[in-house]
Symmetry: C3
Subunit: 159 residues, 3 copies
């Protein structure tokens, strides 16, 4: 089966596909970081949601007071959900875009701007920066995804 | 590298893959629309969640009263999360299904029904239509995904 | 177009890709199961969120009392969201990893451990098991995804 494996490896050897692989991995790792930041704030703010998570603080009322929401935890969680809502379309549409034969420079431009916009969005959300920082970074990532979707549908529309 | 690019382009030239690319893009664009609808209701209902989003309404108590939940906003957000829960499995399983060599007509049937069901689900959720409209449209999309998963596992199971 | 179809079919014939297809489908089916468990608890606990869902219980106050949150429902929903947050990165990074030419044994190891960890995470969350059961199963799935991301970036990094 080394022949088939060679063909598969050609996919990751293709430059546009490698660009997609790189930026898709980067934005997914960035999204995964949100889990760690949530855990960090839950532990330092002592704000948990599951009773079994507060068992180490003792029993009964002494542990129960840590079952609460915290503004910082909730802020990170909103940023995480916003990532899911925007990175899932990027993953799907970006893959199809990378397979639709864009030229390398245009593809690099799309992927770099999207990744930059989502990283900026995270900083704008977590610091937080005054609006319209977060709004603008969100719009830029959204527009890049729409632009890629347009290319996919123009290249391969089949209803 | 033009030889490799040619091979990649063959992927988007394949008819079943083009059908997948088309419908995956359509349902992702539909899901992205939920963000705009949420923003529309947040602005028209003046119901925000981040203090920095209400800064333009003034300072202190006058802005604070816009940090509230609104039933219409929450409804759109639930529809958006339901999209994520159902479109993510469709994206992954649908891609594998498209690569498992289904015949074109069967693939078209699956993808068209899924997209139609999710669009119907959105209308049923946002209008809202009386039950079981929303429930039925959800079940149809779910069943299509299960049917594709069955084909994938039957074709390529490797534990 | 049978030549192109043959090439596509080769993708699902490739052993590593078949392993990915199998485990991606399994974890997505597991995630989809969370919807059914949520529905089960909503119905048995009579805890709904949309007014149109309680219409069959009568009108006015008699139906309104079923618009409430229930700890069991909320627990399943948290497990579902945790799945989304962790299975989305696995789907994207796992696909790129499968295309980056890992050897079959290493790929099997990654995919089996991830699937096992996520199934364990679901049991730990829903029973619930005392900590650190849920925490550990989460960390294992997270670490497997990071390991695959490292391989993808090492093989195909293109910034």
């Amino acid at each position: 089966r080394s022949g088939e494996m060679a063909k598969l490896t050609q996919l990751i050897d293709n430059e546009v596909f490698r660009v997609y692989a790189t930026y898709a991995t980067i934005v997914l790792l960035k999204m995964m970081l949100m889990s760690l930041i949530t855990a960090y704030f839950r532990i330092t703010r002592k704000a948990f949601v599951n009773p079994e998570d507060t068992a180490s603080f003792g029993k009964g009322e002494s542990a129960k007071k840590f079952l609460r929401t915290d503004p910082d935890v909730e802020r990170v969680r909103r940023g995480h959900l916003n990532d899911l809502e925007n990175i899932v379309p990027f993953l799907g549409i970006g893959l199809l875009y990378a397979l639709s034969g864009p030229d390398l420079y245009t593809a690099l431009l799309h992927f770099r701007i999207f990744a930059g916009a989502r990283i900026a969005h995270t900083f704008a959300y977590l610091i937080p920066l005054p609006q319209p920082s977060r709004g603008l970074s969100w719009v830029v990532g959204y527009a890049v995804t729409i632009s890629m979707a347009y290319k996919v549908l123009k290249t391969g529309l089949y209803l």
